[in-house]
Amino acid sequence: GSAVLFLVHSAPGKMVENSLLPGRAIYDFVLLLSSQFGFILYLVWAFIPESWLNSLGLTYWPQKHWTVALPLHLLITIVIGYVLLFRINMMSTPSLNSICTITDNYAKNQQPKKYQEVAIPALRVISTSEVNQMLFLAAKDLYTKN
């Protein structure tokens, strides 16, 4: 790859403690209540027989088959997601003979900047040939230790 110089700029920003805002506590509480309610509703749907629910007047439920099927589908999706993500990562890595590993549009179109004596030199993408010459031809013993 080419050598690029990074200038790290750190600005002291204001840090706001998120846990002190009152709005966040309300969101947390609402989320807790709704998730507990949802879980108890799911248990009721799964375990209580149809006849009891019908006698209470609640007749419009999805089939009980889905109480087992939905968590299973979710679990399989997560497992396949792991495998799929790994595969997609490997497929989108450029191969060894692709031009992306050497250069790209930014490096081709960059304008040469004038060298100024006092200032820090401007950011520039150095070509692979130059970097190789600096690393492997000039410094003779740097890389030969095993």
């Binding site: 490997m90 890595t93 450029p94 060894l96 031009i99 050497i102 040939s129 031809l137």
Partner: protein, 188 residues
Amino acid sequence: MEDERSFSDICGGRLALQRRYYSPSCREFCLSCPRLSLRSLTAVTCTVWLAAYGLFTLCENSMILSAAIFITLLGLLGYLHFVKIDQETLLIIDSLGIQMTSSYASGKESTTFIEMDKVKDIVINEAIYMQKVIYYLCILLKDPVEPHGISQVVPVFQSAKPRLDCLIEVYRSCQEILAHQKATSTSP
């Protein structure tokens, strides 16, 4: 002048680099990969035959055993002829070009030749390969449209995959020849 040294590849296997200096403008580098080991061959054969025997005890069909023998033989022949590369050679001739030869375990040889006019540079590049970042030597080809552009990247020693110390040796020798070639081509 001939010279032989041993290096290691990215997985830790042993490689032998043979350098031949025919003349100041012609050099050859020959990398020999480790031979097919008897241990891995017996391991693969035993697993295939044990699996076939397991299937045979389930199905009671003796065709499975003969099919397993056929598959093992054909697989071995195909592997030796199409996959297993024994030796990779890089020959650089100053004003002519670069030739890369791969010789397979069954004796087959495949050759690629690149003219010196098309060669821009030979560099050591780093890239991600499987789960590693490796160094590999590659030939950069000139772009006919743009004078300073690169049209193609040709990696060299693809199946041997030597480590950086071996690559630096080959890189330095190649750069000597390329520098010599650029000096003679620009002078009238």
